[in-house]
């Protein structure tokens, strides 16, 4: 019984870390991959401060996760346009965009 409770507790702890992780980062080979889980979207564009907010079309994988890669090691302010609508996911770091909305911020090394 005790073992079962420990197992359930461990399962809950592990799954709570994953639940709601629809936006995350991964650094690989000097590239920063920015992932957005949005299976129902048809077109996702990424805009960032790295290039004066030019549009970059994200690629979707079979699990409905959209991926964009940028050079790593830099602070980035960014947002998405998903199927024509401005979309800012819940990010760890955010700031006002002075336009009534917010942007995500990625800080390297954190």
């Amino acid at each position: 019984m005790r073992l079962l409770l420990v197992f359930i507790g461990a399962f809950l702890i592990l799954s709570s870390g994953c639940a709601g992780s629809n936006h995350y980062y991964k650094e690989q080979d000097e590239q920063l991959h920015i992932y957005l889980k949005y299976p129902e979207a048809e077109k996702v564009y990424f805009f960032s401060s790295l290039d004066q907010f030019q549009p970059h079309e994200a690629a979707k994988n079979e699990k409905g996760v959209w991926d964009i890669s940028v050079p790593s090691g830099q602070e980035i302010t960014y947002f998405y346009i998903v199927d024509g609508e401005i979309f800012t996911p819940e990010c760890e770091l955010m700031a006002t965009d002075d336009l009534g909305g917010e942007n995500c911020i990625y800080l390297p090394g954190l």
Binding site: F47, T77, E90, M94, A95, D97, D98, L107
Partner: protein, 275 residues
């Protein structure tokens, strides 16, 4: 001598002739003359030709009125004259266009950014007399303000910093100012409210926190925050913990809503601490 002076004047006026020609070549003929003249004025202040030409073309493509284009140029002119960074304002313009904002809103946002950097620059000047250091500090202050630190709280934080670094040499003060403000920015970007962050800084300085302590505080806060809605409660908890004498290394043990006297007794609170 007279001939030499005339030659020097001609040489120095060549760039402006080239510039005027380039503006006429690269901005379409349906661009109002006043806007072309305004663009020349912006460029004459030292802002990159290409940036202004591209921005002006973009405004025309997005059907800005003549008045709106002149207003956008005017923000850049005032920015440059006040020795403030121009790039954040140009970036804000392109961000606003990408978000399909109205022209008026775009120009307003550009002005907000200019005003913010002006305020940040003034605050930086209160902390350090060194011009180069003031520029760096102003950038970090601006980032804190973009993240939500209000003018009043920013004023208080800079005053706390001024007093705290009074007896430090210039290099030490710079490191301390930058490290503390980076921690402030991190907490603000994580969603904590301006007032609670100011209290954290005040309590931390009273406890003699070093710059390393302040940086640990910022990182621990960011890691602890589950979401923006819990950030302010966590900030209050941190402020209490610091006031009660908790060292920076142990701050990460505190969760929102709970506190613990450092004698080891648990005081009433909604949350629990964990190691």
């Amino acid at each position: 001598m007279k001939n030499l002076l005339i030659i020097i004047m001609i040489i120095f006026s060549i760039p402006s002739f080239i510039c005027a020609g380039e503006i006429d070549d690269r901005l379409s003929s349906d661009m109002p003359a006043k806007v072309k003249e305004s663009a020349r004025q912006v460029i004459s202040l030292g802002i990159e030709n290409q940036d202004i030409i591209q921005m002006t073309r973009t405004m025309l493509e997005n059907k800005y009125t003549e008045q709106q284009m002149l207003a956008a140029h005017d923000v850049l002119i005032r920015t440059k004259r006040e020795n403030l960074p121009v790039d954040p304002i140009i970036n804000k313009f392109y961000e606003s266009v990408a978000k399909r904002s109205q022209a008026e809103q775009t120009v307003q946002a550009m002005e907000i950014v200019r005003s913010r950097y002006k305020t940040a620059s003034d605050f930086a000047g209160e902390i350090t007399q060194d011009k180069e250091q003031a520029q760096t500090i102003a950038q970090v202050i601006a980032e804190c303000m973009i993240a939500g630190i209000g003018n009043g709280d920013m004023h208080r934080i800079t005053e706390l910093l001024r007093q705290r670094t009074m007896d430090m040499n210039i290099e030490e003060a710079q490191v301390f100012n930058k490290g503390t403000l980076s921690a402030v920015g991190l907490m603000a970007r994580s969603g904590a409210d301006s007032g609670s962050i100011t209290e954290i800084v005040s309590n931390a300085f009273q406890r003699g926190y070093t710059v390393v302590d302040m940086e640990k505080l910022g990182s621990a806060f960011m890691k602890e925050t589950k979401d923006p809605s819990s950030a302010s409660m966590l900030a209050e908890s941190y402020a209490r913990a610091i006031k009660n004498g908790v060292p920076a290394d142990d701050i990460g043990n505190y969760k929102a809503g709970g506190s613990r006297n450092w004698s080891g007794r648990k005081s009433p609170g909604a949350g629990t601490h964990h190691n």
